[in-house]
């Protein structure tokens, strides 16, 4: 399966930097608080060193030092609370921005991309990757910062205790450096593969759930189980690989960061025995080095999460790479208002869903304003594809589709919608109220307009009964396919474009209902250019002109009577349709 792209490491770093710096004030406050909390935590060992050294000098001193320690602990707790709250608030803010920008990106994706990559991948990116990223942003990033700051501050404290005492710490540096390099070189790809395998797992479940009725009807439970098992096997293999990486890396780190404690103790102890440093200095240094253990551990612990978070961010940003969608480019064009500006020309257009497999071959077609054009032809002839090209949803691989002389690819999407709208045979009822499902087409429509639109498509009877504010969609009030189709047509009325592309928009309805609907629609279609893609030939019969498509090419163009008289493909179809009725 073609998957959506994943952003490169450089891109992820650049974006993370921009993200970090987007709210400088909040970030500065959070960092300052974390810094203060870390600094306060450093006073403990120093005071304890003093206690050990001065234990012989009297109860007063001991009590005083203890009180100072208590005061410091309370201060530290307050600082930690404020610091974490500040970073959590900032994290939630950044996260909300991230996922909202992501959805903004998703809704501007070219359709062809979404259909080929599969919704499972997109769903995983919107759910799990956003989840993982939330853990990174809320916990890993601030904690890594704190840990890094603590390490620096502790090293500073060590220098204050005795500059010589810093040396033992350096023992661990080459080991950690080499091990971390080895690990990071492999980890990113490993975790990306892990996420991708997980996406397949989710994808499989989504398919099973979506097609549960088919699974029951055809007893496909066994196959679905095989699919989940295959996905699990793949996911498990990727998990084992990253586990292998950790198995090599983590024990080396664990040993490496205790080394400084041991060397400080032995090195400092020997210096003390030689009388070159005080007991207090060695004690404080040992405790400081031991205190380093925790931030270094945290740093490395989060390194894992940051890697996974980075992988998720790469997947989230990767979607943006495909987002430069059809028709979004170019300078805003003056709104086309009428006359020739509404003529549509398809010039030598080819299109393919897969490279090397054109479904349209050099199609030429002129559509005049106000014309009623029917596109007919066998299934798979490229009718729907042509419809999508005319509506500007797909971009021609070759050739151009123009509106009033301007290529559609240069018309901003928002403007294009008010000119040309498409209703397809696949319908989708969105989660939300009936009103939400309609106002998406016209955010300013009031109750009266909504009712008028529903009446025009003959849907007011059931919609009025249901109520505009009833929740519809999966799991709520379920609409029948024909009701969904009426809803789609009502949306179209609300958009009010001068050109309509109806892609078998009434195919899900019974002939009786379709007939009633078509009568109501006739009033709506009045004065607009209508391109009706249909297999029911009566649509063609009523049209001004008929385009017959076959094998991705325009076979015949003309009025119904002309084409019937010509005795070509269309005449054959018409006779088959009409002949079937056995009566006239």
């Amino acid at each position: 399966m073609t998957t959506l792209p994943v952003a490169g490491a450089r891109e992820v770093r650049a974006h993370a930097r921009r993200l970090t710096l987007r709210h400088p004030r909040e970030l500065a406050v959070a960092v300052a608080l974390h810094l203060a909390a870390s600094a306060v935590a450093l006073a403990g060992p120093r005071l304890l060193g003093d206690l050990v050294d001065e234990a012989g000098r009297g109860i007063d001193r001991v009590d005083r030092i203890t009180l100072v320690i208590v005061a410091l602990v309370v201060t530290q707790a307050i600082l930690v609370r404020s610091a974490m709250y500040a970073s959590a608030k900032l994290g939630e803010k950044v996260l909300a921005e991230l996922r909202e920008e992501f959805v903004d990106t998703v809704v501007s994706l070219p359709l062809a991309v979404v259909e080929r990559a599969g919704t499972g991948d997109l769903v995983t990116r919107t759910t799990r990757d956003v989840d993982v990223l939330s853990r990174s942003v809320r916990m890993a990033v601030p904690d890594t910062l704190t840990a890094a700051m603590t390490i620096l501050l502790t090293m500073g404290a060590l220098v204050l205790v005795g500059p010589l005492m810093v040396l033992p710490c350096l023992v661990a540096v080459p080991v950690l450096w080499a091990a971390t390099r080895w690990y990071l070189a492999r980890a990113r790809d490993g975790y990306l593969r892990q996420s991708a395998a997980y996406a397949d797992l989710t994808d499989g479940l989504a398919e099973t759930v979506d097609g549960a009725r088919t699974v029951e009807a055809l007893e496909l439970a066994g196959r679905r189980f095989d699919r989940v098992n295959r996905d699990i096997a793949r996911s498990y293999a990727t998990e084992r690989y990253t586990l292998h990486l950790r198995t090599v890396y983590l024990p080396i780190c664990d040993t490496a960061y205790v080394l400084p404690v041991v060397t400080t103790l032995i090195f400092g102890g020997l210096l003390y025995i030689d009388g070159r440093v005080s007991l207090a200095a060695v004690t404080a240094a040992t405790l400081y080095v031991q205190q380093l253990l925790d931030p270094v551990d945290r740093l490395l612990y989060w390194m894992d999460d940051l890697q996974i978070g980075g992988a998720s961010l790469a997947r989230i940003l990767g979607v943006g790479r495909k987002a430069a969608g059809t028709g979004t480019g170019g300078a805003p064009q003056p709104a086309c208002t009428g006359g020739e500006a509404q003529d549509i020309a398809v010039k030598s257009v080819s299109y393919s869903y897969r490279e090397g497999h054109d479904v349209l071959h050099k199609v030429d077609l002129d559509i005049r304003r106000g014309e009623r054009l029917a596109v007919v032809g066998p299934s798979g002839a490229g009718k729907s594809t042509l419809g999508r090209l005319i509506a500007g949803i797909h971009e021609p691989r070759e050739g151009v589709v123009t509106l009033g002389g301007t290529p559609l690819t240069e018309v901003p999407l928002g403007a294009l919608r008010r000119e040309i709208a498409l209703v397809t045979q696949d319908q989708h009822v969105f989660q939300g109220t009936l009103r939400d499902n309609l106002t998406m087409a016209d955010p300013h429509a009031g109750d009266a307009e909504l009712e008028a639109a529903l009446r025009a498509v003959d849907a007011w009877e059931w919609a009025g009964e249901l109520g505009l504010d009833t929740e519809v969609g999966p799991g709520r009030a379920e609409l029948s396919p024909s009701q969904s189709q009426q809803l789609a047509l009502a949306r179209l009325i609300l958009v009010d474009p001068h050109t309509l592309v109806l892609d078998e928009a009434t195919s899900q309805m019974s002939p009786v209902a379709a007939r009633r609907l078509e009568r109501s629609l006739a009033a709506v279609m009045e004065g607009r250019t209508v391109i009706a893609i249909a297999h029911r030939l009566h649509t063609a019969h009523d049209a001004d002109r008929v385009v017959v498509m076959a094998g991705g090419r325009v076979g015949e163009v003309g009025t119904h009577d002309e084409l019937v008289a010509r005795g070509g493909i269309y005449a054959g179809l018409w006779n088959s349709w009409h002949g079937g009725q056995d009566a006239d």
């Binding site: 320690i69 707790a77 990559a117 498990y236 002939p511």
Partner: protein
Amino acid sequence: MRKFPDPGPVRLDHGSAGRYLAGLVKEHRRALLAGVVFGVACMLAQALVPAAIGRAIDLGMIARDRSGLLLWGGVVLGLAIVQAVTGILRDRNALSASLGAGYQTMQLVTGQASRLGATLGRRVTTGEVVGVGTADIASIGGALETTARGSGAVVSIVAVAVIMVSTSWRLGLAVLIGVPLMTWLIALLIRPLHGRQERLRDQQGELASRAVDIVGGLRVLRGIGGEDAFAARYRAESQRVRHAGVEVARVEVLLSAAQVLLPGLLVAFVVWLGAHAVLDQRISPGQLVAFYGYTVFLAGPIGWLTDAVDRITKGFVAARRVTRMLALEPEIVSGPLPPGSLSSPAPLTDAVTGLVVPPGRFTAVACAEAGEAAALADRLGRYTDSGAAYGDIPLRDLPLTEVRRSILVVGPEGRFFTGPLRAELDPRDTSADGGGDRPELAEALWAAAAGDIVDALPDGLDTVLVQAGRELSGGQHQRLRLVRALMANPDVLVAVEPASAVDAHTEDTIAARLARARAGRTTVVLTTSPIVLSRADRVVLVAGGRVAAEGTHAGLLGDTRYRHLVTRETS
């Protein structure tokens, strides 16, 4: 490590979240036990480090004994190595259990979705189930995983307490009372967190559901507009989730502060007591440093312990959602009769309309009212319970698998799955590779006039259908569904508008070939297309919820209601 996936779904009691988790624990007891053993060893090695450092100070430095210093320094290093090795062994075992639990849950949820079948869509949204497959299995895994570190934490706390008590009972007692007190106070803080986290999780699920909805309706959004309105609604909900997240964080940070404050106060108290003990010369300076080390160290295991409580809490929340899904029961249940009750061909009857479908014939039913065809198909295929009967046996008395195998309803709700087309078209082919290439497939493709679809695909029948065949047009879908139905070769085929999305010419071809392909078998087509109706042996008109007329297409054209329904004439 154990190998995954298991060949079959594991049997787990899903009566409650607790029992479900207990079942998983039992299932992974070996890995969990190993994880606990290594977790304990790891934490103990870590717990002994302060004692070894204390010895190095007392026996090495203060005694000015170089070899003592080196010996105890070496012990510290040895403990570090033990800790490193046992640490990764702990993690490996814990991960094995965690992944295993996740995968097994995934298998169960997949199995349950298949078992619920048509019921599923009426009870839960796709987003909810996908939520189970993503976030919830991670939470359940996390709960199991945490046992290794959690139990290591408990044991090391006990070990440190024992060492402390044997060194100084006063200091030891202070720690022994202090630590449980601390844990209890922290647990008090966690309690309000529980409910908030659950609510947050639900809101996040809703948000994810909305994102899934947007992805699913992207085609429509691109055609009609409304992306902005939708992104805006998502944004509004995202902001609600954000504020809920901040509210949860408000409680969470209190917990973090307590994790600093309580151990810190305990350390201060212990050090104060210890310093006095040094003054009284009851303990050595090295032991004081060790005590400091213990109490600082204790913040670690206590952190793990509270983390474990937190993760187990989250695991329960997730397990509750999983068990809720697993507890759903199909609305249609198997009848009491033994398998094999449905044998010889018999007429299929619908009690509501009075329709009788004779065996071995091609019957077409034209329904006058919108929605009647779908309802009738649901009754005949027993997707809803009714008085429908096969011969004189009511369908609801028959074993459900037998009904499904004998009566196949093919309609617009049929889906394809990602996979090679050859296997997708042959649901009954049980050979593992699905490459059996049965001769019937060519016949079925011919009958459904679907050969050109396959020819146009890059790898023919071996082409992998992406995303449920989204790339195919409505007419192509319809024909491939028919191919699949013919390959399933049921005793009774109920087809709802099988060729409504293809052109007239192809429709006629399909109707003629369908009749031939199903010769001698029972076929019911619910349609109002004159082309298909004219090919049927017998045509039934259902109007006003009852059978209104029967005959042939040509004969029935004399009936005004029928003519009005199936032709485009308006009177």
